[in-house]
């Protein structure tokens, strides 16, 4: 009797469960569900890339992260863009800047159409800048629009943008990041973050979105036949959610995948197969030991310098990352950029000398806390060993990332191991110990403000170099390593992948530049 009931309920449950997911299969995809064109003679070229859910790819709804931005960037264009060398014209074919660096004019191409057939005009550009300035989003561009005073159309195809003060990063951080919206779609939208209609993903970009599935983390993009830079060389770009990217590559579930840092072992294994091409690039990321410079003992530069002597960074790179990283620049900025200063002072690893120093200073009794997340527990363990070898008493505490972030923000720590990206962009130097803000140095702040306004690139570089020198001497943080990054891909399907100079937009390192999918 009991078994029969169980059996029946089991069957009922199974039927219910399977039918429960039917409605979605019947419902058509959100936008143009047109079937593949039968006129196409050859097999359509689909590129599959591992991914996850990064939000609806409208300029206001994607999750405020690099991958979210890339999902949006296939659909929308910016005034300028970047290739492997640097900034290139995009929607704007030409631009000028006044001598004082506050007045920019852009000449907008006249042959660009939005995906609904409407032309993209200066009106749309003016509207977009004003609209982004008016509406809050969590993405970075609020900061980059802060210095914008006004935007106006000055001719049939000319747009003038005036700034409150010179802003050295304007071309890269603002003009190269802010997507241009179709005014006719967005002008009546009141809460853009909640505007998730199919029209919200109509831009001028090289691809149109044909499917987005939040639960399955799936994005399907189809080539925009009328793209002003030419039709993309692939027909479809699909993002698939996978748990193990190496397995996904091996089984052909995806055609390319990105790896970094400690994943070097997987890369080596896959490389020895010989099936995949390997492209190495910079991750623009740094792992650093953050000092609480507001409290003793790390409020003194000589104590921090002694810590730098005590820690064997090369050893951490070898032991923990197996060579998947390089020893970090003491000035934070990625060595793979034009901003990198190669002539910084160094600290030779010397346990004995550091030990004498700490003993003389009487710092060997007070226990110090070192906080980190589980991801960097091994690095933290090695730092702890090195510091204990010179006589310091270290208490290691791990927490989830938001907790560690919050402790850093509140200044509730002695030492922390924390990492972040964005180090291709000098604006990252604003707060060297981010997300903490314990480091105070007037000279540093003055230099930073000067470089932020230095429109002349040479002058700016000079100032950014000085900032790095100051960092290497003062050591508010001790940068540990920069991970290496690799793209493994099936070259027989597509071999135009590349790493963007300084990363896309404000510094997104992943090699998903839309230019890789376009004729060149």
């Amino acid at each position: 009797m009991t078994r029969r009931i169980l059996l029946i309920s089991l069957i009922l449950l199974a039927i219910f469960a399977i039918t429960a997911c039917r409605p979605e299969s019947v419902a058509p995809p959100t936008t143009q569900g047109a079937p593949a064109e039968p006129t196409q003679t050859s097999e359509p070229l689909t590129i599959k890339y591992p991914g996850d859910d990064w939000g609806y790819p409208s300029p206001f709804a994607f999750y405020p992260r690099g991958p979210g931005y890339t999902r949006m960037s296939f659909l929308f264009d910016t005034l300028v863009w970047k290739d492997e060398e640097g900034i290139i014209p995009w929607l704007a074919e030409d631009w000028q800047v006044s001598d004082d660096g506050t007045a920019w004019t852009f000449a907008i191409r006249s042959d660009v159409k939005f995906q609904d057939g409407e032309p993209l005009t200066v009106e749309d550009v003016v509207f977009s800048y004003a609209f982004f300035k008016e509406h809050m989003t969590a993405f970075k561009w609020n900061a980059s629009l802060e210095k914008v005073k006004g935007v106006e159309a000055v001719s049939e195809n000319g747009v003038a943008i005036t700034l409150k003060e010179p802003f050295a990063g304007f071309l890269n951080d603002t003009a190269g990041s802010i997507p241009i919206l179709p005014k006719h779609i967005w002008e009546d939208v009141e809460d853009p973050a909640k505007f998730a209609e199919p029209e919200a993903v109509i831009g001028s970009g090289p691809f149109t979105l044909t499917d987005y599935n939040r639960e399955e983390g799936r994005y399907v993009y189809e080539a925009n036949e009328d793209y002003f830079k030419g039709r993309p060389i692939i027909d479809r770009l699909v993002f698939v959610k996978v748990s193990d990217e190496a397995l996904a590559l091996e089984t052909g579930t995806v055609d390319a995948a990105s790896f970094w840092g400690k994943e070097i072992d997987v890369v080596k294994e896959l490389r020895s197969d010989g099936t995949f091409e390997v492209l190495e690039g910079p991750s623009f990321w740094v792992l650093q030991l953050v000092f609480n410079t507001a409290n003793p003992p790390f409020d003194k530069a000589n104590v921090r310098q002694a810590v730098a002597q005590a820690i064997d960074r090369q050893n951490i790179v070898e032991q923990v990352t197996h060579g998947g990283a390089i020893v970090a620049n003491l000035g934070i900025i990625s060595p793979h950029t034009d901003w990198y200063n190669p002539n910084l002072p160094t600290y030779k690893h010397d346990t004995a000398e550091a030990k004498t120093f700490f003993e003389e200073q009487g710092l060997t009794t007070k226990p110090l806390t070192l906080i980190t997340t589980a991801n960097f527990a091994r690095e933290a363990e090695m730092v702890k060993q090195d510091l204990e070898a010179v006589g310091l008493a270290i208490q290691l505490k791990t927490g989830d990332r938001t907790t560690v972030d919050t402790l850093l923000r509140e200044g509730n720590f002695d030492l922390a191991i924390n990492g972040h990206g964005g180090i291709a962009n000098p604006s990252i130097l604003d707060t060297p110990d981010w997300p903490a803000a314990t480091y105070k140095n007037e000279m540093y702040d003055t230099l930073f403000a000067q470089q932020a306004q230095a429109v002349d690139q040479e002058k700016r570089r000079e100032l950014v170099w000085q900032l790095q020198e100051l960092l290497a001497e003062e050591l508010p943080i001790l940068p540990l390593y920069h991970p290496r990054m690799w793209l493994l891909y099936d070259g027989s399907k597509l071999d135009t992948w590349f790493y963007t100079a300084g990363g896309m937009s404000v510094g997104i390192p992943i090699p998903l530049n839309k230019l890789a999918f376009l004729p060149r």
Binding site: L6, S25, A138, R214, K241, S243
Partner: protein
Amino acid sequence: MQIVQYLITMIIVLSLNFFLPRMIPGDPLTVLEGDPSTDMPMLLTEEARAKLLTYYGLDKPLLAQYKDYLLKMAQGDLGWSIYYNVPVTSLLWGRLKWTLLLMGIATAVYTALGILLGTVSAWYRGSKTDLGLLGGVFALGSWPSFFLAMLLIIAFSVKLDLFPIGGVGNATGEYSSALGRTLDVTYHLFLPCVALVLSHLPSVYLVMRNSLLSVLGQDYIRTAKAKGLRERFILWRHALPNGLLPVITMIAMHFGLLITGTISVEVVFSYPGMGTLLHEAFRARDYPVLQGAFLLIMITVLFFNLLAEFLYARLDPRTRRRWTNA
């Protein structure tokens, strides 16, 4: 009385759902500001931060927020997710349907199988079948579910190439027919389901076996045997109803937690579900999502508790008194 008890529990849990997420360090904006472990930092200016706090209603005093929360809950409005930027109900439902599909089938299978095997084992206690089952189940039970899941993937997906490595359907999500999709979804469901069944089966089996063994050793069973009743009859009518009681308690608990999903299996098979959603929402300190998900869990747990009490009363007349007293 029973109803009042359940109501009080609900109010306490509702309040905990509100206050607990807010007591963990950090707030939803911490994550919006950038994820230092994977990405570039996004520095929010004080002004921008204040604007966002106002936008999400997080600048109000805590008690005012609590009042808003209770009022909205009363209207069935779970709010808008801060990180995912969608209504919480649609977010939850999107995940819940996959969790129910996977966990529902797996739970039904491992419960039925566990009871069946446990009964067989107890009935033929000491035989080769019993010892074989016991050994096999112990071996299974000693492996964590994510490990079992990975073994299954390596064996059946990578080496034998029989099943997909994960997901719920094909890469593009395009199917020629609804039947094609249903079949493909079932095909994708197979391995995660097997992993769940294998990892949960041991507990049900062991409880069933032990409980039935202790029942079979009792006097009334001996009496029944002495009366000359058929063995099958003794098992079905005398032993099983009593032997099932601990199993029902356990299954009610399993079912209550059914909708929280199983994060390890979800992660290994990149299967969408409540487990990963809860984890992500916690990481992002997405208060509305956490509140909504906890509410859902609370309702399920309370419902299955009620159901278990009801079933108990049916199986064991002695527990009925509680109901009549109330």
